[in-house]
Structure formats: structure tokens, C-alpha cells
Symmetry: C2
Subunit: 227 residues, 2 copies
């Protein structure tokens, strides 16, 4: 225990659950595996931690490499370490989750074989239907990781202002309500939601309106903008 034996060394990887909300639904970015094990199966973007970087840095690097994203909200989720989670080598995975707004997703999200999947979460279990297809089983233990990530953001949304990470800088109150409904998976009363949000001071109205097909909606922005 005093010195590190070669047998004590283990592969350390990061896997990143990248969430966005689009079309009124929580969505997750998955990429298709190009190699064994689990070749051709869908998996969370991830990769090994390099000798000279922290897991946080590795997760940021993955975010840029796999989704072209820089400076988005990123937090550590949990570390998965079952010795059998990778059928070939011992790999411990430090899982992260990221929140991105649609407007930050350019063409870059089409990198490699990756795409967005809706996350359907009725009451407990998490499903990822691809336009009505049956729930795909993800590679490794990534179903568990995804489930843990959904559970985390649901719990966190209720008392930490992270919903803004899933929206452009300016948004309407209806848009942010739809984010909450998509993440939590249940409808919310419009008047209560608005009065509570405004009273909390998290949000500030701006002198602009979202114009479109119907009555224009006032725009708001997050008060403490994460820089």
C-alpha cells in the first residue's frame, strides 16, 4: 500500500451525459460505437483521462471533441467502478453531465455518428425512444449512468437555478416553463410558476419581445449570468 504496483493501476475514463431540451422534450446526445466492445451500439460520449489532465479537463475535452461545445455547464455526477462494467479491461468511469441550450448546438452536433435522443422518464425508469423505436440498450453501464444523470438534474432543478443553462440568454417565461416540464416530466401551473420565478429574483425582464405567430411574449434573462 505504500507504493503503487502496476497491478494497482486501472484505466480511468470519463463519460459525459449531454442534455438539451428541444421540442418540449429532454434530449441526450449519444454516439454510435465504432469499435469493440459494444461495436455499433449507442453510448455516451467519453474517453480516457490523460496522464496530465484532471477528470474535469478530460470531460471538457470530450465535450469539445464530440459535440463541439465550449464553456457549457458541466458537473461531476458519480463514479462507476464495477470491475465488470467493461468486459475487456478494468475501467473506472467518472461520469459527468452537461446542460446545453439548443442555440449553442450548431452543425457540430452531427460530428461522427452521433445524434440526439429523447429521454422519456415516466415515473422512475428512463427510456430513450428513437422516434418511436423501442428503447435502445446502451453500451456498458450507460443506461445506469443516464438514469443517475436524469435523477440528479430533476432533484437539482428544484432548488438550484440550472434551468437557464438549457436556454438561450434571452427567453420567454413559457420557454423556461417548458424546460422545467421537460426535465421534471410533469405539467406545471403557469401562474404559480411565473409568480414564484419572478419573486425569486433569478430572472430580470428585458425591453424586448419574442414576436411570432401570436401575441408577442416578453423576454427575460438570467440575473446572475454564468460568465
Amino acid at each position: 500500500m505504500n507504493t503503487i504496483e502496476p497491478s494497482d493501476r486501472i484505466g480511468v475514463a470519463v463519460d459525459v451525459v449531454i442534455f438539451t431540451v428541444d421540442d418540449g422534450h429532454l434530449q441526450v446526445l449519444l454516439s454510435r460505437r465504432e469499435h469493440e466492445p459494444f461495436e455499433d451500439r449507442w453510448a455516451l460520449p467519453g474517453g480516457f483521462v490523460r496522464p496530465d489532465e484532471s477528470a474535469d479537463q478530460a470531460a471538457e475535452r470530450e465535450l469539445t471533441a464530440k459535440a463541439g461545445l465550449v464553456g457549457v455547464f458541466l458537473e461531476q455526477l458519480y463514479t462507476f467502478s464495477d470491475p465488470a462494467r467493461d468486459p475487456r479491461n478494468r475501467v473506472v468511469s467518472v461520469a459527468y453531465y452537461a446542460l446545453v441550450s439548443r442555440d449553442r448546438l450548431g452543425a457540430q452536433a452531427g460530428l461522427r455518428e452521433s445524434r440526439w435522443f429523447r429521454v422519456d422518464h415516466g415515473a422512475g425508469e428512463v427510456q430513450v425512444p428513437e422516434l418511436g423505436l423501442a428503447k435502445p440498450c446502451l453500451a456498458f453501464d450507460h443506461d445506469r449512468i443516464l438514469e443517475a444523470a436524469v435523477h440528479r438534474i430533476q432533484g437539482k432543478l428544484e432548488y438550484v437555478p440550472i434551468g437557464f443553462q438549457l436556454l438561450p440568454q434571452r427567453f420567454t417565461l413559457t420557454e423556461i416553463q417548458q424546460v422545467y416540464e421537460a426535465v421534471l416530466g410533469h405539467p406545471i401551473d403557469k401562474r404559480n410558476f411565473r409568480s414564484k420565478l419572478l419573486k425569486s429574483g433569478q430572472v430580470r425582464e428585458v425591453d424586448a419581445y419574442r414576436t411570432g405567430a401570436h401575441r408577442p411574449a416578453r423576454l427575460y434573462e438570467f440575473t446572475r449570468r454564468t460568465f
Copy 2:
């Protein structure tokens, strides 16, 4: 990225923040390091994850080896992965925290060079005074880990019934209030605390009293006993 290179392998360790409440104070078990680096400095109990075990299992093993504890509350906290956190080798540490009641601590807690330290947490920073001695700087990044652990249990205590883990099976309402006060670091109103706890249904009264120097106090037990 397809295969694991030797350079991708990293030492993976667990460190366990073992808490108890005694004498009205939150206490943490530290052990004195017997080897370099940080020889003779106080540190959290910990060790390397073996090739055939999960980090959870390694943390349980540490708990038994260093403190003689079996079957106590144990949860993963966070993974610390700064490349420079160990000055000699690259080691990633998966930190855990454990909650133990005094009555589970027998002579075993005197194993090796280890002892309990009070955790003083005014408003933010965490100090570990040894009977009035200046705050010892722990080895590695263990000050940060301890701070994160205190923050976690404070947050969790407010909405998850984990306080019972720090008490014997039967306890008085004054005892559990003292646990809350020790963890949160501030006094709590007796009547409000009692009525809220009883209304929550977490606790059930027992037909027994703690007898002692003064008026006997009714004993209670946790409703959903973790088996």
C-alpha cells in the same frame, strides 16, 4: 482510444470521511501517515482499489480495516483527480463518507495511529481543532475532501433522514436534536424540531425511557430501520 495503453492507467484509491457525533460535536476519524509522502501528517483513512473490487467494496474494506466497522452507512461523495494531488504518482481518489453512531465504536477505533477530531464549521470553512490545537493541515487534498463531505451531510440532513445513522437504535429526542445541531453547526428550537420530526413519521416512540440524573426521557426509534 480503442485499447488501453499502459500510460492510460492511473492509480485509483478511495478515501473515507468517517463521521460520528460525540460530546455534542461532529467528529471525524483521521489516521497518522506512516510513510512518505506526508509522513506523520494526519490524513483520511484510505487505500488503493484492488483489481477485482469496486470502489464501493474498497471503501467498505477500508472502513473495516481502519476502524473495525461493518455495515455502516456509506455513500460516494466525489472523485478528486487533480494530476498534482499526490506529489509522487498520479492517483485519482474516489471519496466516500460514512456515518457511525458512538455505540458502534468500540476499542477498534484505536487501531493504529488514528483518533477522532472535532470538526468545527463556523460558516463556510472547516476546521479540525485537536483539543484547542491549531487546525492541522491534512495530507494531500484531504482538507478539501473533508470540507466537501461536511457540506454534503449538511445539505442532505435537511431533506433525507440520515441523522439516525449517527445514533444508536433507540434515542431520545434531545439526542437527535443534538445530532442535528452538531452537524448543522447552529442551535435549533426544541419545540419546532420535535413537532416537525414527529409529524414526519420518521420516528416511532418506544415504551422505554432513558433514565439518568434527571427527569427520564422517552426513547424513540427510526421507523424505516436500515437493516
